[in-house]
Symmetry: C2
Subunit: 204 residues, 2 copies
C-alpha cells in the first residue's frame, strides 16, 4: 500500500483524524466521480470551474476545446487545486451544533501539463472506457480534425489528500436523552432509466 | 423576473447558449445543493475547498469553527469564486467526440464578509430549516459558547451565472445511422433509508 507524504498544502490541521493519505483511497474517490472542481487564479482573480475528469495511472486528466479559457490557462502550468467531493449523507444530531455531513473528498495540488498528440488518443480512450467499457468498439472514434481540436491536460496525483467523515452523529453526552430523532440520512447517486435518443428524432 | 448583469467574470464565451443569468435559476441551483466548492488564493497558491452552504435572501452563507483556515482566509475579504454543480446525466452520442454531460452549475464571484454575532443566530436557524423544516423546535439550539465558536460568512449573489446543459446527444448528421445506442443516462441523487442512531449505542 502506497501513501502520499503530507506537505504544507495537504496536511489536514482541523479534525485531523479525517485525513487519509492512502493512494488507493484517493484514487477510489477520484475514480468514483464524473466531475471535479478546479481552482486556479488568473490576474489575481480566483476561479472555480467544474469539468469532467478521468484518471490515467497516477494522474488526473481533463479535456476540452483548444479554445477553452480554462484549458488555455491551466496548460501554462499555473498552480491548481483539484477537488472531488462525494456527499454521502446528512448527519442529524440532537444538538444543532453537532449536525454534520458524511463525505469523501480528495484534493490534489499541482500543475497541469498538456499531453502530446500521440498521448491524447490513448487518454481519450481511457475516458471512453470510464464512461462505458466496450463503447469504443461501437462509436465513431475521433477523426484527425476532432483530435486536433481537443486539448488534454494531466495533473500528477502526488501532492494529494483525502478527507473522509462517515458514521453516526457525535452528540454531547448530556444531549443523548433529548427526545429528538438522530441519525444519518444517506445520500445516494444512481443512474435512472436510460433515455434512448432515436435518430429519427434528430432528423425530424 | 430579475436577471444578473454579465460581467467580464461571468460572461460565458464558449457554448454561450448554455449561460443563464436569471436570478431564480441561479438561486434554485444554489438551494438544491448541500455543498459548494470555493476557490480562493493565498500567497500565490489556489485552493479548492468543499463546504456546506445555504442561501439567505440574496447571499450564500457558509460556516465553521473560528479556527478554520478556510474561514479565516475568506473572512479577510479576498476574492473568491463559489461553484455549485449538479450532474444530471451522461450524454452518450454516436461519435466519441460528441459525448457530453447534462448538468446545472452556478458560479458566484465576490468576497465573503463575516456576520455579526447578532446576525449569526438567524443565519444558523436558516441552515437548520434547510436541513429539516421544524427541526429547530426539537434539537438543543446552540448555547452561547457554541455560537461564539462559530464563524458565519456571507457572499452576495450578484456577480453570478448559471450554466446548464440538458437534453439528448447532438450527433453529426452523418453519424445518425451508426448502429450504436445513443441517449442519456440520467443521474439522480436521493435519500436512502434513514439510519437511526440510538442513544444507547453512543453510551455503550
Amino acid at each position: 500500500m502506497s501513501h502520499f507524504t503530507p506537505t504544507d498544502l495537504t496536511r489536514v490541521r482541523r479534525v485531523a483524524q479525517r485525513a487519509n493519505y492512502d493512494q488507493a483511497t484517493v484514487h477510489a474517490i477520484v475514480d468514483h466521480a464524473w466531475i471535479c472542481h478546479i481552482a486556479f487564479s488568473l490576474d489575481g482573480q480566483s476561479h472555480c470551474i467544474p469539468t469532467a475528469h478521468w484518471r490515467v495511472g497516477e494522474a488526473i486528466h481533463i479535456h476540452g476545446s483548444n479554445g477553452s479559457r480554462l484549458l488555455r490557462a491551466l496548460a501554462t502550468g499555473i498552480p491548481a487545486c483539484v477537488c472531488i467531493t462525494h456527499l454521502d449523507g446528512l448527519v442529524l444530531a440532537r444538538s444543532a451544533f453537532n449536525h454534520s455531513m458524511n463525505y469523501r473528498s480528495a484534493m490534489v495540488y499541482g500543475r497541469f501539463a498538456p499531453l502530446t498528440a500521440a498521448e491524447r488518443s490513448a487518454s481519450l480512450d481511457a475516458f471512453m472506457d470510464k464512461l462505458e467499457p466496450g463503447r469504443r468498439a461501437q462509436v465513431r472514434m475521433p477523426d484527425a480534425n476532432e483530435l486536433a481540436a481537443t486539448t488534454v491536460l494531466a495533473l500528477p496525483i502526488i501532492e494529494a489528500v483525502a478527507k473522509i467523515r462517515q458514521g453516526p452523529p457525535e452528540d454531547d453526552e448530556a444531549d443523548l436523552s433529548l427526545p429528538v430523532w438522530a441519525g444519518v440520512w444517506p445520500l445516494e447517486t444512481r443512474f435512472g432509466e436510460p433515455i434512448t435518443h432515436h435518430a429519427s428524432a434528430a432528423l425530424a
